[in-house]
Symmetry: C2
Subunit: 335 residues, 2 copies
């Protein structure tokens, strides 16, 4: 008799079965140079994913958390959300003629980071209230989406969502392929990240943790909606990150990825748990392909966490040495 | 030639492929009587899960939210968390001799709901602070787990985690099988529900939304931990439910399940979105197998939401009529 399994059937079987096989690291992380960082990642993942060994972790507990700014995408010459905020102030300025002579608006209109810095946290909170509140959750999502569709990075002249780190995209896929659930835990705004995180990183809105302003439930003309209020709700930075993780995820992650002192507590909290743990810091030392900055940077300062990394055995990625490529190919180049 | 596919291979293929086929409702909801409620559920699920039709919803957007008390498990003669709170007051009373003459502690020690009610929200907040704070997140988890292992329901003399509704367990499985992601959105404490929700409902900690008290990140002797503080953080009830959903899930659900006026805003918010939506209320009218209560109940009052259900086309489940069985078989009976 002839075998009755068709080619289509074999393909269907392969499609169904293949995702359940472990990814081979050699293929899964092509943008990482072979070195200590890549080897540490692969060793950790293979250990926790191997049943019947002392380091095995059941899939439900394979939680990995990622900082966003400077860890998954570029945060220089300023946080992307700050560029967004400046553009929002400019867009709204015609309705507020008094802004051009009044801080912190004047600093925002002129893109003057030094003057803005002098207004402190209060200035930033006032600008956030003026630009991020007063509309529905859906309207804000649309504003963010529209802005990202046209805004371009001043140095690379590419959309911000293309300035994500290719090696980190591969790392997240590799982790998910090995049963991990990946979360963003960002000091940036939760509602600023959610509109594009799924398409860009494969991370759905419910797996984004971030800072927030209050929202209020309202019904109007039979419509149920959430209105954004000009009040700070939660700052998901430094010691706030483990708190955000607790309320949002509800269990201690086993792997944490960051790049600055804002991630120190998240890495400490993650790696202090029992069993095998993994902490990693991205160090920006590549002024040619991206930026070089650490201890003295205005954005993404990496100082205390870099010292702690040695003491605590966290992996430090030197971008120049460890990454074969930094950004994915331009969208145009793929066509 | 003989066909080279072994029986083992065929079984492996079946195991890999079968989960991707839609569940047949007739098998998936055996504890539901054939009637309007079951038919409405099945019609909704089949429509949103069928590609190429106008009502199709992509899997990532198939978010279903469930209230807990009175929707997934019994909330009479009082909320389970209140029984826990009373037992905690009793356990801590020897260290606080003054409690026996002082409200709200006296009411808790005597299980006097009327006297407790007279102390209002302030009394309840004080009791929560005294019993739910002052320990680490891990310690509280352990306290809840230990309590549930021994506490028994006063009427049914069974562990509380066995007094979950079998038809709702089947419904959650049926939804997940059809690509839905299921969340609990409870007025109860997020940290009271998480320790047992995964085992009991198949819902992991990161898919539990609830009320909370503050926690603070602390390091002590090189240990990183979260300490529970006696301050209310968020009340996930009534208009708080859509807010909790926004911050935790980040998109409007397409199906919501509740049983009381505390769920009204959640159902209104869910069913007001565009595209096909589903709202369902469980009505407790079964004094024989469970309890009968609605408009005048101290716990789980169902009044305004019941009126709204008619106007808005929400499905109302009458427990007596629609459920073949209420609770799963006793654990002992399974052995």
């Amino acid at each position: 008799m002839r075998c009755s399994f068709s080619k289509t059937f074999i393909v269907a079987v392969a499609v169904a079965v293949l995702p359940h096989l472990p990814a081979r690291a050699a293929d899964a992380l092509p943008s990482w140079n072979d070195g200590a960082a890549k080897r540490a990642i692969v060793a950790f993942v293979e250990k926790v994913a191997k049943p019947g060994t002392p380091d095995f972790v059941e899939p439900a507990k394979r939680i990995a958390v990622f900082d966003n700014d400077g860890t998954l995408w570029s945060e220089q010459p300023m946080y992307v959300q700050l560029a967004f905020l400046f553009d929002r102030v400019r867009a709204l300025a015609p309705q507020h003629p008094e802004w051009k002579d009044k801080q912190p608006y004047k600093a925002a209109l002129e893109g003057d980071l030094k003057a803005l810095g002098e207004t402190g946290m209060r200035g930033l909170t006032e600008l956030t209230a003026a630009t991020h509140a007063g509309m529905s959750a859906e309207e804000f999502e649309e504003i963010v989406t529209q802005w990202l569709a046209t805004a371009r990075h001043p140095k690379f002249d590419r959309p911000y969502t293309e300035l994500v780190y290719q090696p980190m995209l591969e790392l997240m896929s590799y982790l998910r392929y090995n049963g991990f659930k990946t979360f963003i835990v960002s000091g940036g705004g939760i509602d600023f990240i959610r509109p594009w995180a799924e398409k860009t990183y494969g991370i759905p809105p419910e797996q984004v943790v971030g800072s927030s302003i209050e929202v209020k439930y309202e019904t109007k003309d039979g419509e149920s909606t959430l209105v954004r209020l000009p009040e700070l709700r939660f700052v998901d930075d430094k010691a706030g990150k483990p708190v955000g993780i607790h309320f949002h995820i509800g269990r201690r992650p086993i792997a944490a990825f960051g790049n600055s002192d804002g991630d120190l507590e998240m890495l400490a909290y993650t790696t202090a748990g029992s069993g095998l743990r993994f902490g990693l810091l991205v160090r920006h030392d590549d002024s040619e392909r991206e930026y070089a900055y650490d201890r003295d940077s205005l954005f993404g300062k990496l100082d205390k966490a870099l010292d702690e990394a040695k003491a605590r055995g966290w992996t430090v990625v030197d971008m120049k040495r460890d990454w074969k490529t930094v950004f994915p190919p331009e969208q145009g180049a793929l066509r």
